[in-house]
């Protein structure tokens, strides 16, 4: 009885509904975690505002589908072809767009790189439409198997995604923490000038990071493609989640931590759908981003805020004084 009452108060229909929301939250969140960790790595090390990571995402999944559909490759080789093309694409973005724009702009490189990445998003999406059409494609062939435990359902693909996400992000964390390459990446992330001074090839590290990030984001894209479908605009939404995850987690944290934050955000979004409709649940996520950003500045920010308020007061006082005279 009391359970019933509590459930009614909380607006929950059944325990099953909650468990199902948790399961799907973890699965979606694993995808967010992958692309978020990819973006966090690129942002943290290279400082490029890589909005076009959504294009890398789409190119990887779309080309895998093209490889399977049109070129007739079996699933696994098709996925690998997609990943390889997506990685090359990511490297080309850095080599042909970001690097030239950033070196011309010098210190104020953020805006040119950001706007340039928007240009890449527009070009890539429409080139794909021009060559292969507007339709969605299936990336089929993964064994269809649905588990049903106490009326909570999930698929073999879901389980695989979570396992792969843990392995990939764990592996990436180990690379960063334990290898010489990882040490160099962390050195560049900490202080590129210093890293250069002690003999690290910073340009090379940028490319390594773009390659790693493109692969990790591409893996998320392949799973999204296999679960749903692929289409030329499929990267536009995940990129928002990637930014939310990367900034809530912080761009200097280990990939496995970023992955956990991704799962947390997936959970938050999916559990909130118990109470609100699906399109409003995006509000929860961006509301969280807003709060995270507002809180981010910490005590130093509060000091500035109080300074701002006191100067507002002074101005108001001045207005009142002059108004009275």
């Amino acid at each position: 009885m009391t359970h019933q009452l509590l459930a009614t108060i909380l607006g929950i229909d059944s325990v099953r509904q909650v468990v199902q929301a948790i399961v799907s939250g973890v699965v979606t969140g694993a995808g967010y975690g992958l692309i978020g960790a990819a973006l966090a790595l690129i942002l943290g090390v290279t400082g490029r505002f890589h909005f076009a990571i959504g294009s890398t995402y789409m190119v990887t999944a779309y080309l895998a589908a093209v490889a399977a559909d049109i070129w007739g490759l079996p699933l696994i080789p098709a996925l690998l072809v997609g990943l390889a093309i997506g990685t090359v694409f990511g490297l080309l973005i850095e080599a042909l767009v970001y690097h030239p724009l950033a070196s011309r702009a010098g210190e104020g490189a953020l805006l040119p790189v950001f706007v340039g990445s928007l240009g890449i998003v527009i070009i890539t999406e429409n080139v794909v439409r021009l060559i292969w059409g507007n339709d969605t494609r299936n990336l089929g062939g993964f064994p269809q198997h649905t588990y049903n435990i106490g009326n909570v359902t999930f698929t073999l693909l879901d389980v695989t995604l979570v396992v792969v996400a843990i392995v990939v992000l764990g592996g990436l964390s180990l690379i960063l923490a334990r290898t010489i390459l990882g040490e160099q990446i962390r050195a560049v992330r900490g202080n590129p000038l210093m890293a250069q001074a002690v003999g690290v090839n910073v340009r090379r590290i940028f490319y390594v990071v773009f390659a790693l990030g493109s692969i990790v984001a591409g893996i998320a894209a392949l799973f999204a493609g296999m679960k749903f479908a692929v289409e030329p605009a499929m990267g536009n939404e995940p990129v928002f989640y990637a930014f939310v995850v990367a900034f809530v987690a912080g761009t200097r944290r280990s990939p496995i931590f970023v992955g956990l934050v991704g799962i947390g955000i997936g959970l938050l979004e999916s559990i909130s759908t118990i109470w609100v409709s699906e399109n409003v649940s995006a509000l929860t996520v961006f509301g969280l981003l807003f709060v995270a950003l507002a809180v981010r500045s910490g005590p130093a920010g509060l000091k500035q805020l109080s300074g701002a308020l006191s100067s507002v007061n002074r101005q108001v006082g001045r207005v009142q004084r002059t108004g009275g005279s």
């Binding site: 706007v115 240009g119 070009i123 995006a282 509000l283 981003l289």
Partner: protein, 577 residues
Amino acid sequence: MPVFWIDVINQVLIFAVLAMSLNLLLGYAGQVSVAHAAFAAIGGYAASYLAIKNGVSVPLGFLIGMAGAGLVGLLISLPALLLAEEYVILLTLSVQTIVLVVITSIGALGGLYGLTGLPVVTIFGKELLRPEDWLWPLVIVNLIVFGILSWVGESPFGRILRGIRDDQLATQSLGKDVWVKKVIVFGLTSAVAGLGGALLAYYNGVSSPGLYEFSQSILIVTMVVVGGRGNLLGSVLGAAVVIGAGPFFQKVIDLSPETSSLWRLIAFGVLLIGVLALRPEGLLPEQASLPALLRRLRRRPPVAGTPPLVPAGGATAAQPPPADAPAIVNVEDVRKSFGGIHAVDGLSFELKQGHVTGLIGPNGAGKTTVFNLLTGALTPDDGKVELRDQDITGWPIDRVARSGMVRSFQDVRIFPNLTVLDNVRMAVPGQRGENLRDLFLMPWAVVGGQRKAIAAGREKLEYVGLAEKEGVLAGSLPFGEQKLLALARILAAEADVLLLDEPASGIDAEWVDRMVAIIRNLSREGMTVCIVEHNLHVVERLADHIYFMDGGKIVAAGPMEALVKEEHLVEAYFGQP
């Protein structure tokens, strides 16, 4: 002209309103917002809803829409104040998403379809039905918006915005309050975006989410960047390029209907990257703005002859300062630690009026930290800083500067994208037109004030011998002249206590002589000067009194002749005697 092109021009004019307002925020104040379409949405939806559901008249609906957008802009600016550039992008990104989701999910606003059945706009009894009816009203709106935004952008207020963009700390250090300016510019530009949004809704006869989605915000950012940041006319051109690209490719280049829209978008993306790569400052750069060109036309001819090495008033230079001059600045037992490191550890000293006080010591002795503590860039953990017997410990940077103590920076921190004269006249304190009240209620006072500030700025430039370079971009000056400009700039701030961080380091001997002469002269005119300087010859020539710092403490004090006799000091400074 065919209706097709009139329609395109109308759309360009509406987006020009949005792009010009974003330019004031992004191009002048350096705040990158990707939520401009969301502010337009607030204006558009408010104006439409009030007219349809409450029968509010169209002009009143526009005004309320603008006020609503402006208010939301003010609120958003508060967290944005505290964030670094990339976080401001993300913050506005989340605002854009939140506003659109909220609008779409409110049933009364028509969901995905939006609000239809907007009343027809009438102006002087004429109904605006066809595109050609809209053309002239939109041209007039554009002229008004251009006029107002230019007035704000080229005013003392606008110069402070550009100062914030180029170097926020330097702007504060000249006594300018940057926080309120940022809040106001967010609010003002959001309100104008609300106007653009209302125009968009009424022109299309519908207020729907598609008009205001994220991609529209991106287009507006693109218009500003392609057109030229800091140049309002550039934004109109940017709007024409971005909006006109589609119809141009559609009409002028013959493509099959199925693929033409794709080619058009691809060409647009290539154009975007091409402009960024070949002309990063935009099609119409800041220096080519209409007001800047007008100024260049009006500029007075340069003063003939080379500037005097010793500035005017050099005759008094021979008199030494009185030894019993009053202490203007008193520092008592000030401490500051970073983590476990005591950067400044119980420091006490005074700066006397009309004296040049030198602060010397090995690297890491804490000299620059002392300047930061005196000017409010850092707050002491303990101890007291007094300026003319007033306790200023913990005051914000701009307030200390307005109270008469300003500093220069070792790395000059001039505003590279402003002209030499603009750098200096920006610093003139208490100008009319640093706030919107003056700008809109007392425009004539602003004009007079500008004239005075220009005169004051030129006077300081003549003093340091840079008068001939007033129209040059500060970033293009050689380093020695940048140091002189930085000095002129703090002189224009009309402080009587000058803290100079390495005024003579990294510059040629010729400039060193001029710098020494100017500083000497300033102190003889009664200014209180404190210099941190590595070049001991400069310190020897200038300083009446020297404090020797080591490990965050003052270990010796006196005139140079006395200090050089103390062997352990010489050893600490030079390594070897």
